[in-house]
Symmetry: C2
């Protein structure tokens, strides 16, 4: 089995942290007046340079006769998911799901308990489990996604999305960023085709992207496990082997393979998104590259260069050097969730 | 290098045939009165049971309140390309392109002439080249697609599409089936999302699907070569290694990976499409499976069970047994091209 590469080794300690205790704090969100939504498509954004840059770009490329005009069919916009469209702390939600799903995996395949690292996990001996390193995490990720068929996996994910996040006291599935949902809709209203291009697995994300973001399954590109066609049942089943790793260089590769057109707008939040932004910036059409900077410890989280998850270091330097739009969560967003 | 599997070994003899002489015969096509197009969306189809079955299905699944109603977002329709949307005889057009492009490959990489099978090809010694079997063909296919960058490859394909087909005296790029183009449009007018799911490479097909069929690049799933992201130029380049073989079981796999929804309509013409039809038939929504049977030696070609290209044998038996719609080109189509 190939392993699914995690962003940082020290990530495992965070999982341990997540499995023990979180800081609980409910944040107060302002309500928006309904009337204003009709006139301002980005009502959850503050009136800063970031909002202006987005609106100026969309206006220029959609105005016929403008030198910057982009034909509708080329208006491809790609978004990272974890940390860009929804929260990713204190650990990737898909990893949190995978850990929680292992109970069902052990019930279905008790023989797995012969493996010491999995036995340790079943016994909640996280220290021993973590000692197995990336291999153990990748094993959990792949097993939890393939131990049951696709239909049962989907049911399991959908049920899990109702689990409450310790910090926010809201279901994980509701921790999508309101300003980003508005931006996606604003782009589609201007005839952009919005895609998710994310390191998470497409089979996990497809359970909520349509409802949460208005993005249908066929516009979700993620990490993919190998699949097989079963000639007896005529079904496609996934196997615990990596087929496409949709992170770093895998993002532009996924775009080239599955979309076949270079984006004119890309939005990420971590070093794993840098290559997608670099690729988008080479579009001969006008283009806009954006990075979300998590600066809001009170309403969400504050992290960047040294973070164990969603590390934003090289990409932040390059964004500043190249004049990409760095979205400052604390300053640019009126509302988070 | 992995090899790209061809549908039949004896296929190579056809290539030889194609490289020497074709039967030339221009067929006469009737013109359609413009008025009639407005009322009949499938004007190039004869008034047979096939046309009725298609219209009955589309009407039933798009009529709100009907027991068969399918919500718009689930109206996914997948079409094979070679032999279903355009002609595939006397050899797959993409193979014809690949052979023709080898001149440029040799100019760019003269060291390839040290390989005996490629030297033979350069010397037009087809007998020796053919003796290299599938390996030689796969080598030509991969080299012709990757020797230059994507932009130059696209230019080369677009120029080649103007080459005239020996039998029809028309450019290869124009040999799309008029009844199928009408069907695609009819489905889209009824809010189906139309996809190509074909054994040909997506990088080749994306050069004409939008213009020829109204199908944008991002709705083209084909065989894919491995790709790499170049950190110096920020570009994606393709390599001569197979990444996804989009034939037989690879078709439902491609649908599950890249669309993430089961089709409600699928149309193919050969045994390579059988698994896609089997998969579609398991949709719990009403669904329609169709096969094109090439029965028209005069206007196009007649072939099925023993054909070297587009063999229709097992799939024909299964279609008859399961009541899938077998489209008889000679009887069901008023017009071919």
């Amino acid at each position: 089995m190939k392993t699914i590469k995690m962003k940082k080794n020290s990530f495992f300690f965070l999982v341990l942290l997540a499995m023990t205790s979180f800081i609980s704090c409910n944040t107060q969100e302002k309500k928006l007046p309904e009337e204003a939504v009709k006139t301002d498509p980005l009502l959850s954004w503050n009136e800063t340079a970031t909002k202006k840059a987005i609106i100026d770009f969309v206006t220029a490329v959609t105005t016929e006769g403008s030198a910057q005009f982009i034909p509708e069919e080329e208006r491809i916009a790609t978004f990272d998911n974890d940390g860009t469209l929804w929260c990713e702390q204190p650990l990737y939600f898909e990893v949190a799901y995978s850990l929680s799903a292992m109970k069902d995996v052990f019930a279905a395949k008790p023989e797995l308990l012969k493996k010491p690292e999995l036995k340790a996990l079943a016994d909640k001996d996280m220290k021993t489990f973590m000692a197995s390193g990336e291999k153990g995490i990748a094993e959990v990720f792949a097993l939890s996604h393939t131990v049951v068929g696709v239909d049962d996996f989907n049911k399991s994910v959908q049920a899990w999305l109702q689990t409450k996040h310790e910090k926010f006291g809201k279901p994980y599935g509701d921790l999508t960023y309101k300003p980003m949902v508005e931006l996606l809709k604003y782009l589609r209203d201007n005839h952009f085709k919005t895609y998710i291009v994310s390191g998470g697995s497409s089979m996990f994300m497809r359970n909520f992207t349509e409802k949460a973001y208005g993005i249908p399954p066929e516009q979700v590109i993620g990490t993919m496990l190998k699949a097989e066609f079963k000639p007896d049942t005529y079904q496609v089943v996934f196997t615990p082997e990596l087929f496409h790793n949709d992170d770093h260089g895998g993002k532009p590769i996924g775009i080239a393979q599955f979309i076949g057109r270079k984006p004119v707008l890309a939005f990420g939040n971590s070093d794993g998104d840098l290559e997608m932004l670099q690729y988008t910036a080479t579009n001969t059409r006008p283009n806009l590259c954006l990075l979300l900077h998590h600066t809001d410890a009170e309403r969400e989280y504050a992290y960047d260069r040294e973070s164990h998850i969603g590390q934003l270091n090289k990409a932040l330097d390059e964004a500043i050097a190249k004049g990409w739009i760095v979205t400052d969560m604390a300053k640019d967003w009126k509302i988070v969730f």
